[in-house]
């Protein structure tokens, strides 16, 4: 809401500076976002001196001037040929600036002469109604300065954010009334007396057919109006409030709307067939062409103002093209009404239209202000326009507004506010708010008709707190029973995962939950893949953020790309967040972990010892994770994920359930994301992991330092290269070798002199007894047996 202080001061005595007024309003809940001067926003309008005037013949009425701002010289054309002399100081608008009645100044060329701006009249500059002369300043005035600064014109305007509950503040008068309530500054009453005999009888008929949607409808006819440009003071105020002028009648309706908050609508009376004004619901199939050129099909829930044949206006929202007041209109019907805010809101949502009018109706107007606005408009027409006659007001108001009674006690007020607010203070505030009656301990408050936001005792408490001053209310600490609940395991788990990855040298990233369908399609997924069936947004910001992610990969890959394009080649990142699948009810949300490794591991150091991430870095991270969490993750080669290199990937299993995958991205996908190989990536379902984690948390068995020494024996053998290490390990495990503590793989070698298709492997067996030092012979005996079985089973040869 824009509030020019010059206009505001007509209604309330302003006893403070603009900044102080802004602070008062802000601290009362009406945040003043800025104080600005609309004149300063017109652009570069400066003082210039005329250096040279010439009148080439082909320009006829116009002349060509050279003007200077003290630094630069501009050429400008003007029609005020006879007023111009060298040495004058004039008002010059540079291209790109605006006149106060919204005309844009541009370069223009007339008959080959180029004009670099415009010399302004007092009217164009927004200073006085004079249009037919140039604005000529004192010759001693400095050139090159802002015109308004030179003239000392200051029009501070407050930009106020009005909360949606306070429709009563969407007007200059509303703000004046509020300032009066807060500060006690004197409010000038608004009373407009009309003489009944001065008005002729209204010749038409007004019928409200839907009393649920229209509570009050008033109007009058003005005959013989001359439709033209508005008087200067109206234009100026519309300009200060950022409104574009249309014509005097429309401007007056807008003026009253700004001043009093009551939307008015003006009809061309002769377009209302039969003089019948019907307030009714739209009929199926009815259409309406709006003033802005849009045509809509009306909905049977929409309220319209119609004549006996067709709808003319979408009630309270926007007028139709056909019945609009234009140049040739002679007789005008003025409407002032009170519509149901809910119904207006639903119609504006349905048709996606918001106007100054609907904005106010949605936020509730003052039912008792309907006639006042009509009278105010009439007064302005009477004082400033040419017209012939004005009819009486017809006011259809079937059920007059009744303010609710709100009952509240001092005890209630004190309990909610939490301090002993003084009785006199409360009563004083209640008196200022509305009608108050006391019934024993209970106050009955009837708020004025413009305060429809006040309906509950809590609303009254807020008013008391607000007028008492939020700042004055003490700060206390709640008195409550001491209780505490266990932290939620899932939250602790996610936190733990993040901490683990941090300790692994990963940086956490947070990417958007909505992704680009194109990133998903780059993953080469099978058309049946569940991940392609993502939930789509109805109204995405852009197609790049248009579906809910079903995997964290696109976010990680896009992040890697963003980094790689900005000097980061080596990356270890992870994300913990939700992925979303369609499901019964709202959606299935699964907490998921994804991570990515790119480039070198660790920092490059001067010692030249650096290495790229490889498969065993990836696997090691997952193994360590499983170890820390004490969950039996299994890594099964090879993953079927179509975006992973099969030979460098595995699926991650928890018992029989696949809960993730890890591996190297296929080259072509890496290239499509403009990344560099090798690129390692993994994703795990944390919800599934959590279930297992919670079960295994009781299985911790602390190890003690050894009491007796261990001893080891190695076996080096050559065997078939396709025998997996895991197969060997599983075989050894099922042998149930006595005293065997663990087996380590200490060397693995392929190539000369090992024959083709074979590999050499060295295993180290650690033996230990709990209760004694094992004797060499004992170990030897066991180990020989192990070696024998191993060689036999795998047809291995000793190395």
């Amino acid at each position: 809401m824009r509030v020019p202080l010059s206009w505001l001061s007509e209604f309330v005595e302003l006893k403070a500076t603009p900044e102080e007024i802004a602070e008062i309003l802000t601290l009362s809940g009406h945040e003043v976002e800025e104080i600005f001067d609309p004149y300063e926003r017109l652009g570069e309008i400066i003082t210039v001196k005329v250096l040279e005037v010439s009148a080439p013949e082909e320009l006829r009425e116009s002349c060509l001037c050279k003007v200077s701002d003290g630094k630069e010289v501009f050429t400008v054309l003007t029609t005020a040929k006879d007023q111009i002399t060298v040495g004058q100081v004039l008002a010059f608008a540079k291209p790109g600036s605006l006149t106060f009645n919204h005309l844009r100044i541009d370069y223009k060329t007339v008959k080959g002469y180029r004009s670099e701006g415009c010399l302004l009249s007092p009217f164009e500059a927004g200073i006085s109604p004079e249009k037919n002369r140039l604005l000529i300043l004192d010759e001693r005035v400095e050139v090159g300065r802002s015109l308004y600064e030179v003239l000392g014109i200051k029009e501070p305007v407050l930009e106020i954010a009005i909360t949606p509950n306070r429709g009563d503040l969407l007007s200059i008068y509303g703000i004046a009334r509020e300032l009066h309530l807060i500060t006690g500054w004197e409010l000038k009453p608004l009373l407009i007396e009309e003489k009944k005999e001065a008005h002729f009888t209204f010749p038409g008929k007004i019928v409200i057919e839907d009393e649920e949607r229209c509570y009050r409808y008033a109007g009058r006819l003005i005959k013989g109006v001359k439709v033209e440009e508005s008087p200067f003071f109206i234009l100026k105020r519309l300009f200060l409030c950022g409104q574009r002028p249309i014509n005097n009648i429309v401007d007056i309706t807008n003026y009253v709307l700004l001043e009093l908050g009551q939307p008015l609508h003006a009809f061309d009376w002769h377009k209302i067939r039969g003089g019948e004004i019907l307030v009714r619901r739209a009929k199926k199939g009815e259409r309406l062409l709006f003033l802005d050129g849009r045509e809509v099909e009306l909905h049977p829930e929409d309220l319209v103002i119609a004549d006996r044949e067709r709808p003319l206006v979408l009630a309270g929202i926007l007028g139709g093209e056909e019945s609009a007041v234009e140049e040739h209109t002679g007789d005008v019907f003025l409407e002032s009404a009170w519509f149901n805010s809910k119904s207006i809101r639903l119609s504006t949502q349905r048709h996606r239209i918001t106007t100054e009018s609907s904005y106010r109706f949605e936020r509730k107007i003052d039912p008792e202000g309907v006639l006042l606005a009509l009278k105010r408009a009439t007064q302005l027409i009477g004082e400033h326009l040419c017209f012939q006659a004005i009819s009486e007001i017809v006011d259809v108001y079937p059920k007059p507004y009744e303010a609710p009674s709100i009952y509240i006690s001092l005890k209630q007020i004190r309990k909610l506010l939490g301090f002993e607010v003084a009785l006199e203070k409360v009563e004083n505030i209640l008196q200022r708010l509305g009608e108050v009656r006391t019934k024993g301990e209970i106050y009955e408050v009837k708020p004025p008709s413009f305060r429809q936001d006040l309906t509950l005792p809590e609303d009254i408490v807020e008013e008391i707190a607000r007028l008492y001053g939020y700042e004055q209310i003490p700060m206390t600490f709640p008195k409550a029973e001491l209780f505490s609940s266990k932290p939620r395991p899932d939250l602790l788990f996610s936190k733990k995962i993040k901490e683990i990855f941090r300790s692994f040298g990963f940086f956490e990233v947070i990417t958007y939950s909505f992704i680009n369908p194109e990133s998903l399609s780059k993953l080469n997924l099978n058309p049946q893949d569940r991940r392609l069936k993502a939930i789509a947004l109805d109204n995405p910001i852009s197609s790049a953020l248009s579906i809910m992610r079903t995997t964290l990969l696109p976010g990680l890959l896009e992040t890697a790309r963003f980094n790689l394009h900005r000097e980061v080649d080596n990356l270890r990142i992870f994300e913990v967040g939700k992925i979303f699948y369609p499901a019964e009810g709202l959606a299935e949300e699964r907490e998921t972990l994804g991570f990515l490794l790119m480039g070198r591991k660790g920092e490059a150091l001067w010692d030249g010892k650096e290495a790229k991430h490889d498969l065993f870095d990836l696997k090691g991270i997952l193994e360590e994770l499983a170890l820390i969490l004490r969950v039996p993750l299994k890594f099964k080669p090879f993953s079927k994920e179509p975006f992973l290199k099969t030979g460098l990937s595995f699926d991650i299993y928890l018992e029989d359930q696949k809960i993730g995958f890890a591996g190297a991205m296929k080259k072509i996908i890496v290239e499509e994301f403009e990344l560099k190989e090798p690129l390692w990536i993994a994703e795990l379902d944390l919800d599934a992991l959590l279930v297992c984690y919670l079960k295994t948390q009781t299985t911790l068995t602390p190890r003690k330092p050894p009491k007796f020494p261990s001893t080891f024996r190695d076996i080096s053998c050559i065997l078939d290269k396709f025998i997996y290490y895991e197969t060997i390990r599983d075989f050894l495990f099922q042998l149930q070798i006595p005293y065997l503590e663990r087996v380590e793989i200490v060397a693995l070698y392929e190539g000369e002199p090992i024959p083709q298709g074979k590999k050499s492997i060295s295993l180290r067996f650690w033996y230990r007894a709990e209760d004694r030092t094992l004797k060499d012979e004992e170990v030897e005996k066991i180990h020989e047996e192990v070696a024998k079985r191993l060689f036999e089973h795998f047809r291995a040869k000793p190395r």
Partner: protein
Amino acid sequence: MQREELQRIKEEALKELETLKDPIQLENFRVKFLGKKGKITQALRGLKELSLEERRELGSELNQLKEYLEFEIEKKRREILLSEEEKILDLDLTLPGRRPFLGGLHPLTQVIEEVCEVFTRLGFEIVTGPEIESEYYNFTALNIPEWHPARDMQATFYLQNGALLRTHTSPIQIRTMLERKPPLRIIAPGKVYRCDADVRHSPMFHQIEGLMVDGEVSFADLKGVLAYFAREIFGEKTKLRFRPSYFPFTEPSLEMDIGCVMCEGKGCRVCGQTGWIEILGAGMVHPEVFKAVNYDITQWQGFAFGLGIERITMLKYGIDDIRLFFDNHLYFLESFK
């Protein structure tokens, strides 16, 4: 073996002992005197030839010398070894070290942790809720019916399945209250979504919702708790200001401002020249909200608050572009290590 000879060995040994400078000399010295063929060892062997009397006398003297030399050798060895490593080597110690390179949590995660920690200290429990929500939980139950103009305050993303992306963490209030009975103290962090994108707005951002419901908890208590929170996060000396505001789900409602952290209240671009920066909205739970969750409004009252994590993080660290959080550039992330 004569006494004179012993005397000579002794003098020789003591004299030589003084000159020893490195472990090799020391070892040679040990071999020379105490080794298998060393002079003292030889001399001890030579004692056999002497009379019992002499043997005893010289023997004890030789053994004393042997012990003395052993002691001195050990002492000398320690001295040499210790002093040897007091030399400066030709290694450039100003070269950078090999860091164990820990990673880092996202700054938003860190601030969420920090805020949650402040409230868990006051006995608030952390809860969460779904990010894909229904109209009912996101709006209707919070006293924002379909026709309410307050819906304009939050540009909503709708989904093609009819649900929506929650525009605030407030639906968690409703879900928690429907699940439990008062008294209640919860804090609910999470992602929220609004159809908005520029330097100050991200279509996805994070909020923390707080709710306390008890028999007597009041507006003054709300002020007290919020002031405690602000000072824990922004420092003891943070200036605070409370302003009336409007949220459909609280009444009375307030907004809390802190003294601008950039200009310390003098007025700057960040605070729009006012010296104050809004950091959260709050209020007493609206009776309509209690009705929606079947709480007896004569028995319970409470407060709720909601704050934007990005905003707080931006203020805390002087960040001017919200998009930095979601670009996730390593340089940015590393600075919060």
